[in-house]
Subunit: 328 residues, 2 copies
Amino acid sequence: MKVSELYEIPIEEAVEELKARGAKRILLQLPDGLKKFSLRIAELLQYEGFEVVLSAGGCYGGCDVAVNEATAVRADAILHVGHLEFLKIREIPVVYAPLKVVRAPLEELASQIALLLPRGAVLGLVAQLEYVELLPELKRKLQSKGFRTLIAEKPLILGCDVRAAESIANKVDAIVVLGAGEFHALGVQRRVDVKVLLADCERCEVRGLASEVKRREALRWEAISKAKEARRFLVVTSVKLGQFKLGEALKAVKALERIGAKALLAVVDEISVERLYAFTWADAFIIAGCPRLVFDHLEIYGKPVVDVEDVKYIVEEEFGASAEQEGT
Amino acid sequence: MKVSELYEIPIEEAVEELKARGAKRILLQLPDGLKKFSLRIAELLQYEGFEVVLSAGGCYGGCDVAVNEATAVRADAILHVGHLEFLKIREIPVVYAPLKVVRAPLEELASQIALLLPRGAVLGLVAQLEYVELLPELKRKLQSKGFRTLIAEKPLILGCDVRAAESIANKVDAIVVLGAGEFHALGVQRRVDVKVLLADCERCEVRGLASEVKRREALRWEAISKAKEARRFLVVTSVKLGQFKLGEALKAVKALERIGAKALLAVVDEISVERLYAFTWADAFIIAGCPRLVFDHLEIYGKPVVDVEDVKYIVEEEFGASAEQEGT
């Protein structure tokens, strides 16, 4: 199903898979940005004989599969749109329909890159989910403009996982992130020392991210620094399957208690930083969930919001590494 | 534990009950307005040897017990503060600590009532949860001022259940709702023809609700009227145990389809009307959850939001009565 000039959602393939599994009632789950297509998709599914229930929850990753909602309405399967399989779900069959790119302005993006970097430079190539299959073509276009190129062995980057970029950072002069929107590319630029260029297929624009990373890093360190002054912490995790970092959250609570602070653990279905402000006693919030939650909320309401990974800077000790093993 | 000049939370009794049940790890759940006391309660529980995890979800009733959160963190029991038992929870022990009134300005409230109503009038008395035990004293004070009084047989009113008031409405000249805040008393005034006075213990003020009910009823009917023009509906229910109105929601979907409209069912953990706006195709939203969700959101963003009970006015047929029986 074509959903814009750039994208399609391969619903027809998903329908075949759902039929093969004998599903009747489907929970249809889409990220907020794709929910506008939910009526068309639901109509197609209904036409094919399925009963459809929509998930109205927020959903910003394959780490967030609406198992509770599906169980509650006794769905036979979940159709999860916009992401790849990230978790093994045992409770219910899950069929994935990631967004696919119909066409992308690769020639134009390659030309823009050629204006920004010297001929002969070695470019490392990674991509967001929807664009991974386009990397060989981008590689050819860049080579024809005189660049040397290296596609990472597993070139997919996620919001919470940019290892693809880290794995090649020391072998290249710059990294090109093929995608759309800054979130993923900023994550890459944060983690590597080499220059990162976002090749943005939606805006048809190539741009560097160093200054935006610098701005956000300053906010991040300001939050960490303010959190060091805090005496009372709320450490929050989510019950969403792939965002349930209970071990890390408990570890953070203990580390904060060791430095004499008061720290309590909280849990919720969907973390929204705004909700946490009902806990008026908290001087600072530690988020043990999707890193995007902190990334998007560094500077609200005057209280510091810090990712659980950064608690080591508050307590000034390394403790994160063994968090998983010591989880409750 | 005293939490203000007016209220206490009987945590000590809850602690005894939790100990008797042998619980070790407690999920502490409070409505947003009481979350500010969560640190003090958690410290008391920790002092008594319990491990505490906070629920960070919204919670506006005994219909909303955080079973999923408690299960996720493997709590042994839930301590649910601020409401009475409303549901039979099988999955996990739940101990309730409803708010208790320490003192209330009953003499002052009775005097204000005497200024508003004629001597000899028959007053029906009902109350919100925290104030039910004060009704006999209010009755005596009103009698001493020359009123006749009738306390409803089961005088407790909830946001979604004002039958106590309905049961006595035709036997009295006015109904006095002892409580705080307008939500419950407005619900009473909506449902009965007789005059309703809110005796507000927090503001120490007695006031009528007819004009506010009129304003909200106008908004309600405007929403229903606009929804009649809508062609595409999103009908939403919540997985929260006591707010899961799947049968009514499905019934509404079918009734809307019978009049030629498109209607899809959606489900979510916590309904917030704002979230639903990602479904841009919907012309109107039908809420099959807590009535408060509609009550508080009648007029936002220009799209009508209608309680599932009012769908009968959109489709112009009675269909609600058998909803439960035909639930999936």
